[in-house]
């Protein structure tokens, strides 16, 4: 069966409406002028800069105003401190432990944005333990995303190019002088920096030569001089290129890369479909930010377009958003060791993206099986025991009806009276479990 799509966008979904705007949309959001600064706006920033809407976070953001975006970025850039749990996961060297550790960070870590950014890069530089088969190296890669994910993009790519997990993932050791393996060079251009159509096959061949001898020995990067092609390479209109580092540098400074990265970050954090005009503005902003991801994101997250009506609840929740977000919004605990499997069933197994392209996200999250898995997760959550959840039901019902309590957590910005009415008539106003289970299935809720 061949399906016709009225408009296909790169992530494989159908057109849900392009968001068009010019450079002015990226200017700072002015409360009262461009829109209201209220609980809804604060919750929007909480959802996008982290997972869910924990009341305390929403309160804090509300108080700080739109500038909270910058302090969130600053918090995420700070080194997370204690690595005891990380060391334990690393020592265990099992994928279960690795997944649990990261989920634990997402659930309880001080900076959800740090984890969200790492998750973005995990999907971008999508490396899977299925091939790497070394949970420690996978953990190290995630740690790299957590520590460097909000810094200069060039620095990040330079480190990723020498990351042992990445080298294994894209066959670094097979890349030898005279017998180059193009795997890494191709993905560097196609998926990591430039995007398809912005380079030639010859560019890839030349770049591959520059990365010859970038090997991994034991579990560390090793520059194997004997396998390196020291000759001159010319690519992307540059001659006499010698090293892999130079190639990375050329790629990240290429104008195509600015559009590619600025747009991809935008689709993850703001809206799935920026217009070409908006993408131009984004690329310009990104370059003005010196291609520093944190600076770019800080501006983006307090921009007019971010706080505009069109961006609100415009992204289909990923399984991580859905599961971790709900738990955090409810201030509920859960056993990370039991969440990884549920996320896999929903279509997002951490440390195991489907392939080098990462998760397409958006509409690709949704199919009958993944929806069944979301439904099951919901039942497990209200049942608590299957995922070791600890939901503060008392607090949800406190100060009025359970319906009010849950709506306050799930829709801090308010919701149409009609929807509230319908939920009330379907589930009543007192049984918190029933109400929560229903709310979690609403399309309104599964859009973040």
């Amino acid at each position: 069966m061949s399906t016709t799509r009225t408009d296909t966008r790169p992530d494989g979904g159908a057109d849900a409406g392009v968001l068009d705007a010019g450079p002015e949309a990226l200017e700072t959001f002015r409360p009262g002028v461009d829109g209201a600064w209220d609980r809804g706006a604060a919750a929007h920033l909480a959802r996008r800069s982290g997972f869910g809407m924990p009341p305390a976070t929403v309160d804090r953001i509300l108080e700080q105003g739109p500038a909270a975006a910058e302090s969130l970025v600053a918090d995420a850039r700070r080194d997370g401190g204690g690595t005891q749990l990380f060391d334990t996961a690393r020592s265990l060297n099992s994928i279960d432990a690795a997944q649990s550790w990261w989920l634990h960070r997402m659930l309880q870590g001080a900076s959800p944005l740090r984890e969200k950014v790492a998750l973005f890069w995990h999907g971008h530089f999508a490396t899977s333990d299925k091939k790497v088969e070394n949970p420690r190296l996978m953990l190290d890669q995630i740690m790299l995303f957590r520590r460097r994910g909000l810094g200069p993009f060039a620095d990040l790519v330079q480190r990723v190019a020498k990351d042992p997990a990445m080298l294994i993932w894209l066959d670094g050791n097979l890349n030898r002088a005279g017998k180059p393996n193009e795997n890494f060079a191709r993905e560097l251009m196609e998926l990591f920096t430039l995007g398809i159509g912005n380079y030639s096959e010859d560019d890839i061949k030349q770049a591959a030569r520059a990365f010859t001898g970038w090997h991994v020995r034991g579990i560390s990067f090793w520059f194997n001089r004997r396998a390196h092609d020291f000759g001159d390479k010319s690519l992307l209109k540059r001659a006499r290129v010698k090293t892999g580092e130079e190639v990375v540098d050329i790629c990240v400074r290429h104008p195509a890369s600015s559009r590619f990265i600025a747009r991809k970050l935008f689709t993850f954090f703001v809206h799935p479909q920026p217009s070409d005009r908006l993408t131009d503005a984004l690329a310009a902003l990104y370059e003005r930010s010196d291609r520093d991801v944190g600076r770019y994101l800080g501006v983006l997250l307090r921009s007019r377009v971010f706080h505009g009506e069109d961006a609100r609840r415009a992204i289909i929740a990923s399984p991580v958003d859905f599961a971790i977000g709900t738990l955090r919004s409810l201030e509920a605990g859960a056993a990370p060791g039991k969440l990884a499997e549920r996320l896999r069933d929903m279509g997002q197994e951490l440390f195991r993206p489907p392939n080098v392209k990462g998760w397409d996200g958006h509409r690709a999250w949704i199919n009958s099986t993944s929806l069944i898995a979301r439904l099951r997760f919901t039942l497990d959550l209200v049942e608590e025991e299957p995922i070791g959840a600890r939901v503060p039901w008392d607090r949800l019902g406190a100060g009025g009806s359970a319906l009010d309590g849950i709506f306050a957590r799930c829709f801090p910005g308010g919701v149409s009276a009609d929807l509230r009415e319908r939920v009330a008539s379907a589930c009543g106003t007192t049984d918190a479990r029933r109400i929560l289970a229903s709310v979690m299935q609403l399309p309104e809720y599964q859009m973040i």
Partner: protein, 606 residues
């Protein structure tokens, strides 16, 4: 901690602790006398008899052990937990109804003993006999019971009908659902008036055959003065008493299928809680009239070569022993007869495993040419490691495991086992090497005394400074010591075992027991292991379960407390003269006091 001046609440405070401690102390000697089994009809399908229940309870409540139990976090948790509270509330209810301490009521009614039986009528009838020390005491006790009923029932006692049966008044209430009678110092209760009549008849020297005279239960009632309680049932009459036809786990089958087969042919299973100088012990008798199948007997209770491998237990228990399992099974025959013991799918798995393992053994059939070469004794031993020479200790610390087989003829198979070991390591290396990660294991051999040990050591290339991951617990090693094969997870343990096996052989100090199975677990070593991994395990629990570090530490502490109570646990199976016996005993070490208890299940005759 919660001692109370209120006399009524004394029991309330003490009972939960007593329940926990119930297996941990022994009561004083009891005097044998004609038991209540003479008054219980012989057609029951099972019974429970308890001697001097009130006295036993009192002893428990007064023991030191109670304080120790009450001091544990688990106990405190149980007290707070819903079921624990329910129990306390129920005792409260009883005491406020009776207006006196619950134990005193029990003492009045059951001063001597009690027996409960079940008759398979429709609906099933439950028969109860309680014997007091005197008619006067019983009368007082019954009054208290009635007071409790009234208390629970808005100060009214339900409508009761009385009638006479052979000079004894039978009272029936609750719409005919409860009948009781008092005859002298004895109280009869049943949900069937007919059964109360039968018990009165028996007490008057009339009526049906009594339990005491029943041939079917004779084995369970053999006189024993130092009994605390006895229970027995006839499996073939118990509705829905079904044993699984097949095991779905090969290891489980190898361990337990023999006992399942024994239970299958048994016509009486009895349990006796006894005490003697060593402490309290539980005996479980599985009596059988039919014979145990020949296959089952020869596979699970083989007798050949018993003396030698049993003797090895002595030295295997030395050092930092954490646990040890020694089993004697005819594995080759079990494998061959797998359809008899395993479900279809697991049996099929073994066939597939045969193909796979045959590859490792150089193409010879694993089931037909390797397994039959093994003697019947297999020992698995686990000890803590010292990590000498590793330059650090790995996190977490995992004890070493080793399995020891004995060969019928050492020469040919030993060669094959060695090459299988090399192949295994090579395959692992190839597998890991496929992603250019370098071979993790370096194969080498070293000399331990007169014996050669093959070691697969971790490749140092992968190691980072100082940090030792979980894999540093492993250095798979193999050695052939005479006619024994020692295969272990760590060279350190295998080295020790080679040394001990060699010395053992020269001393010829063989304990001539006839153990079929022997299991030992050492609490103290387990505790050391737990302590060594405490921080690591805390972190692992935090990551896995999402709870706080304090909560995780609390859980580990509770596990430690349980371990602390058990100094050692041992299970031994013996076989001889066509009878198999199982003996379980646990050494208790509670904060310095050692109370020895034994649970013993004995003599299944086939």
């Amino acid at each position: 901690m919660h001692a109370s001046t209120n006399r009524h609440s004394g029991t309330r405070a003490m009972l939960p602790g007593a329940l926990l401690a119930v297996f941990l102390v022994s009561p004083g000697a009891l005097v044998a006398e004609p038991g209540p089994e003479h008054w219980l009809p012989g057609d029951v399908i099972g019974f429970v008899r308890v001697r001097e229940p009130a006295k036993t309870l009192r002893r428990l409540l007064e023991s030191d052990l109670r304080k120790q139990v009450e001091a544990t976090a688990i106990y405190r948790h149980l007290r707070e937990e819903r079921d624990g509270r329910k129990l306390l509330d129920a005792i409260d209810d009883i005491e406020s109804g009776a207006g006196r301490d619950a134990i005193d009521v029990v003492d009045d009614v059951l001063g001597r003993d009690m027996i409960v039986g079940v008759r398979l009528t429709f609906p099933p009838s439950v028969l109860f006999i309680g014997r007091s020390r005197s008619a006067a005491a019983l009368e007082k006790g019954v009054e208290s019971l009635k007071a409790i009923v009234r208390h629970k029932n808005d100060d009214k006692f339900p409508r009761t009908e009385s009638r006479d049966h052979g000079g004894v008044t039978i009272e029936t209430t609750a719409g005919g659902h409860v009948s009781w009678a008092v005859k002298g110092d004895t109280l009869f209760i049943s949900n069937s008036a007919r059964s109360v009549e039968d018990m009165i008849d028996l007490a008057s020297g009339k009526g049906p055959e009594s339990l005491a005279k029943s041939e079917a239960f004779a084995a369970a009632l053999e006189g024993n003065g130092n009994e605390i309680a006895t229970a027995a049932f006839r499996p073939q009459f118990v509705p829905d008493f079904r044993l699984p036809e097949h095991a779905d786990n090969p290891l489980g089958s190898l361990v337990a299928s023999g006992w399942l087969e024994a239970l299958r042919v048994s016509d009486l299973v009895s349990f006796r809680l006894l005490h003697d100088d060593d402490g309290v012990r539980l005996r479980v008798d599985v009596n059988a009239k039919k014979e145990l199948g020949k296959d089952a007997a020869s596979i699970f209770f083989p007798t050949r070569g018993a003396a030698e491998d049993a003797g090895e237990l002595a030295f295997l228990e030395s050092g930092g022993l954490v646990g040890l399992i020694h089993m004697r099974r005819d594995i080759a025959k079990w494998w061959h007869k797998r359809d008899q013991f395993l479900d279809e799918r697991r049996a099929a798995d073994l066939l597939n495993a045969n193909t796979f393992l045959s590859i490792f053994f150089g193409g010879v059939s694993f089931q037909d040419e390797v397994l039959p070469e093994l003697e019947e004794g297999v020992t698995v031993v686990s000890r803590r490691l010292s990590y000498d020479g590793l330059g650090g200790t790995p996190q977490p610390q995992i004890p070493g495991f080793a399995v020891i087989f004995r060969l019928k003829e050492s020469a040919t198979l030993a060669q094959r086992v060695s090459s299988a070991f090399f192949q295994l390591i090579t395959v692992i290396n190839l597998n890991r090497g496929q992603n250019n990660k370098g071979a993790p294991f370096v194969l080498r051999s070293e000399k331990v005394g007169d014996f050669e040990m093959s070691v697969a050591d971790l490749n140092p290339i992968g190691r980072e400074g100082g940090e030792l991951g979980i894999e540093y617990n492993f250095s798979p090693s193999l050695s052939v010591v005479g006619n024994r094969i020692v295969f272990g997870s760590n060279k350190e343990l295998v080295r020790e075992l080679i040394d001990e096996l060699a010395r053992k052989r020269s001393k010829k100090n063989v304990d001539r027991t006839t153990a079929i199975d022997a299991i030992r677990v050492r609490g103290a070593e387990l505790r050391k292991l737990l302590d060594a991994n405490l921080e690591f395990l805390t972190n692992a629990i935090v990551i896995g379960e999402g709870i706080s570090a304090d909560e995780a530490r609390g859980r580990l502490h509770a596990i430690g407390e349980i371990i602390d109570f058990f100094d050692g646990l041992s299970v031994t199976t013996r076989f001889g003269d066509g009878a198999a016996s199982l003996e379980v005993s646990a050494d208790m070490a509670a904060r310095g006091t050692t109370v020895r208890t034994g649970a013993r299940s004995d003599r299944a005759r086939f």
